[in-house]
Subunit: 645 residues, 2 copies
């Protein structure tokens, strides 16, 4: 039963060339934009966040945001004529890089340029662009994005703010019917926003036309809340104190007909509603789909935050010596297996998930240039899956990193407090992670949908589709899977194991649903709830398979470079950590036997031993300047205090 | 491959009698003391914590602490003649109950009465008791416990503060030789403490006598830091802002000979050192062992904090309705399987771990009355194991609970921010969890130690022993394990599975170490690091087995009571969640087959369905008054804001 102990062959510490190659791989095609974002952040005095009172901090964040806008690291997404760079891919890369700095600033950038500006750009037409984009890109017009309501967080389609067209006046009347329709958690709404993009149910001549977006002025230039609008602060939060989240209510506020963001639905002066998309459902999902950049961006930010935490922990783990009775007096914490197990697989995951982020960004950019319904659905599912998997990775990595730094990690100056508190909301905003993974699962199931008409009752299923499953089945039908080789370090073995799990989970999920609905006559909704854990497992398996596949491709491309050796091991570590964590599944399905399963765990330890000398280089590859890390234990010897070195 | 879907038979909502029975089971023999602690907390205006500035908050916490002392909920541990109740068991129960309130106050209580007072009581002699216990119990003498040093967190034996006996003056000279010997993270040191218990290396006539504790005045009655002492604030922390953690340095500070806490080692006027314990190692571990109450208490507090979080999440999950397109408009979040899976097993764990807490408390109290070396080692290992397992349970439960409450959970008013930030340090203070689990593993290994003389080089192993393994092997030798029955809901099946895992993990750990050291001639320290993950797994398996065993016994005792049905299911859910989480291990070792492994997961879901109607009652059983929960989403309908109900 005892496994053979394989002695690891440790890598050498990474050369400068190898570190540069790692950073180049992570920075990708937008390296120059990322560099711009880093230097723009370094020009700000981010340490002010630690000392300012809440309202002053918020105003400071607004000023920082303006400075970023000037630097070109803010609103790169917009066309050049409106002060942007016409570069949505660069904009997403810049946003991810900004996540190495202050997270309130990051979210302010996201609210102003991404949500508020993005809605006007993608849901509005040229008249709106001309009127607003220039000012908002320069932050002369701070705005907010008022979608969520108190009673309707994850379900935008059911919001209840009213927008009735008054044909006599040629105006819309925006109204909040009750407290559950109050706009809630709206960033910028409590203090800074002057204009709001408000999502409401459009009523034209007594006919419900579904959710549309409207431009509603909420504050004067001098900052007074306008008549008919009520704004209040959401109050203290766990983190992101630099963001003025607020609640908004509208009491029969009148706005001109031109205030409808009318790209997908128009109302004529005499009250005629037109839209190029006839199905209200399709129209809704088209509008929402136009806003997918937010989820891609939060997924990317989550990866970046995890990198900050892991960098601090690895640097401290290298410096801090563990003294002990009879222990080697010169043993850095990083030499301990538990330390390696907590940090190195998380580092590998941070590298692997970046490949998904790059991929979905490319798809999204291609989609903006040449919209295709199939690709749009792929982008939406991937953005949802990445956001969920990446932000849970953030929470775990920050927590493990903090614990690896012991009491030092509990001191506010070492940054974990802020990293943790500020990023915690990533897992529930821009779509709750649990809900997002169900969305991914429904996409994966769509190829089966035709067989289960009943499932259509679930509603969303019919709006989602994917070719993923069928494509997978074509590429590598179950029958063709070869399990002859169990070389755990072969990318093929890893890929096949991940593919097998994804396919089987989707297949069995579909069968279970079918049986419950068809044979047991269970209500489709109850059936979906009944298999919710299965759906989440399938969705996670999908994202993990894709992360491995995309990262392995990058590793293959880098095969001649100076980082080839370390990248191969990173890929192996990512794959085998994933397999190890869920190895019960592969055991249960007969894909691995007990010895292989144990060997996977041993191999994770061996890989940790091999990668250990490269740990510092691996986090250097994340490319975070000391001035952004800011943690004394990671940066300045003289500040660290614990003078054991 | 598709499992049969077992339809759960949901329990009815719990009756008042059942809830009362649950609370009685958790409150245990110290129910009256717990009630006293609850009402003492309710008398304080704990909401002040949310609005006060840091230094004011700290002073407020000191005042609260005084009020608790007066109420009798503070220093119950001390003899009655010094203002206590001579009731260490009640003191531990009261401490756990106080964890339902403000955690800075909790830690202040722990520092003043537990660490500072406990050290004087357990390491001092009657002269010290007479001089100090009365005043410190009334909080007329605030003090601190200065053990940890910047360079020596988890390894007290290597601290480097010096205490040289000056025979001419009849005084000790306390000195901090360098920055790594600076006392660090000392609660009460930055602001309130007037007297410090300082741990230092005793040097008598040039001979090193090891770590001893000394009473060193550090502040005048008016609060000025005394000459020769330097005190500074550790600065802002992630949480526990109400605690004035500080750093202390001593520059040749002179204290009288009587300031040595001399229960285990004495220095005569003319400089003769005596001790009833001849081995310096044994003496050190005896002194440290006398302070084990701290770890028991933190484990208990961790369980209590998890209960607060779970109560808030379940109450919100019952009230919050998930609206959705085509979804039943009246589905509480608690009806969703993912919600149940996140909260109900955590609730079961909270119940089960309480049984360990009660058990170790009883052993500890018995040990105080009738000290026995064997039992002392059992108490120390159990305290370490409980503390690690319980506080990681806290971190996970608070995080899952916060996520289950979405944006509402991110609002400070709903308490997760404070619960999370304040309790996070539990996993690394009073012994880092990773280090503590290794201590447990070494205890488990001790029966093997005789076979591996080399392991003695590790040092600590020889000071730890246990009869656990041999006792286990006697009770249920591997050969006798019957696996005929796979009734997952049988306490016997559960117990045998847990026992099998623990025994095998300890056995294989010992074999691996032996092979590495004997055959591969690996340095014992490297060998231990090499198998660190294995050691942690063995220690965790030990605590989980014990939790099940002790909880199952309580459930059996309650078999005639009104909560019998729900308790049986809680036991099953605890056991099967544990098995499900680590089912790969049982699969790998041939203890379960693939079908049983899948059945375990299905059964966890079925149990969640059965327990779901009892969820509210289960958290009511935690016995936390609304005034201590304080979260609007859990308490006051009118404050909840999200007006969906």
């Amino acid at each position: 039963m005892i496994m053979a102990e394989t002695a690891p062959s440790p890598l050498a510490p990474l050369s400068c060339e190898a570190v540069a190659a790692l950073q180049a791989l992570l920075d990708g095609e937008h390296a120059a934009t990322r560099e711009l974002a880093r230097s723009a952040l370094l020009d700000l005095d981010l340490g002010l966040a630690d000392s300012l009172e809440r309202e002053d901090y918020r105003d400071q964040v607004l000023q920082w945001c303006r400075a970023l806008a000037k630097s070109g690291a803010g609103a790169r997404s917009f066309p050049q004529r409106y002060g942007g760079e016409g570069d949505p891919g660069g904009s997403i890369a810049a946003f991810q890089t900004l996540a190495h700095g202050d997270l309130s600033l990051l979210v302010k950038v996201g609210v102003q340029f991404g949500l508020f500006g993005g809605a006007i750009e993608r849901l509005g037409t040229e008249q709106h662009h001309e009127l607003y984009l220039r000012d908002l890109a320069a932050l002369d017009l701070p705005g907010c994005f008022a979608m969520s309501e108190s009673g309707h967080g994850s379900d935008v389609r059911s919001i209840r703010t009213q927008a009735r067209y008054d044909v006599a006046a040629g105006e819309f009347v925006l109204h909040t019917p009750d407290e559950s329709a109050r706009k809630d958690w709206i960033g910028n709404a409590a203090r800074h926003a002057r204009l709001a993009v408000v999502f409401a149910q459009l009523d034209v001549a007594g006919e419900a036309r579904g959710v549309h977006a409207f431009l509603v002025p909420i504050r004067s230039e001098s900052g007074e809340v306008l008549e008919g609008v009520e704004a209040e602060d959401c109050g203290d939060k766990m983190g992101l104190q630099g963001i003025d989240n607020g609640r908004l209510r509208f009491c029969a506020v009148r706005i001109p007909r031109t205030a409808l963001l009318d790209r997908y639905g128009q109302v004529s002066e005499d009250g005629e509603y037109t839209s190029s998309i006839t199905s209200p459902g399709a129209r809704f999902f088209t509008m929402i789909g136009a806003l997918v950049q937010g989820r891609i961006s939060i997924g990317g930010a989550g990866i970046a935050v995890a990198r900050n935490a892991l960098t601090i922990a690895v640097r401290w783990g290298e410096r801090r010596r563990q003294f002990g009775t009879g222990l080697d007096m010169d043993t850095p914490l990083m030499d301990y297996l538990t330390h390696q197990r907590r940090l190195l697989p998380a580092i590998a995951t941070s590298y692997a998930l970046q490949a998904v982020h790059d991929h979905v960004t490319s798809l999204y950019v291609a989609q903006l240039k040449d919209p295709q319904p199939e690709r749009q659905r792929e982008v939406e599912a991937l953005a949802a899956g990445l956001k969920a998997v990446a932000t849970w990775h953030t929470v775990r990595s920050v927590q493990d990193s903090r614990e690896c730094c012991g009491g030092k990690g509990y001191l506010a100056e070492n940054r974990f407090a802020a990293l943790r508190a500020d990023s915690d909301v990533f897992v529930t905003f821009e779509g709750d992670n649990t809900v997002l993974l169900q969305l991914v699962a429904k996409t994966l199931l769509s190829d089966y949908a035709a067989q289960f008409e009943d499932l259509d009752a679930v509603g969303t299923v019919r709006h989602l589709t994917t070719r993923t499953v069928s494509r997978l089945l074509e590429d590598s039908p179950l029958g063709r899977l070869t399990r002859e080789s169990t070389d755990l370090r072969s990318a093929d073995w890893q890929a096949q194991a991940m593919r097998f799990r994804e396919e089987r989970l989707v297949d069995s999920l579909a069968r279970r649903l079918r049986r419950l609905v068809k044979e047991e006559r269970m209500d489709p909704l109850r059936a979906l709830s009944h298999v919710q854990d299965h759906a989440l497992a399938a969705a996670t398996a999908h994202v993990e398979r894709l992360a491995h596949q995309l990262f392995a491709a990058k590793v293959a491309e880098a095969a001649d470079g100076p980082a080839a050796e370390v990248l191969t091991r990173l890929r192996d570590l990512y794959a085998l950590s994933v397999v190890s964590a869920d190895r019960a599944w592969w055991l249960e399905h007969g894909y691995v036997d007990a010895d292989t399963s144990k060997a996977v765990q041993t191999e994770v330890n061996v890989l940790c031993g091999e990668l250990r000398p490269a740990a510092l280089g691996l986090v250097q590859g994340f490319g975070i300047p000391d001035g952004l890390l800011r943690a004394p234990i990671a940066v300045a010897e003289q500040h660290s205090g614990a003078g054991t070195d």
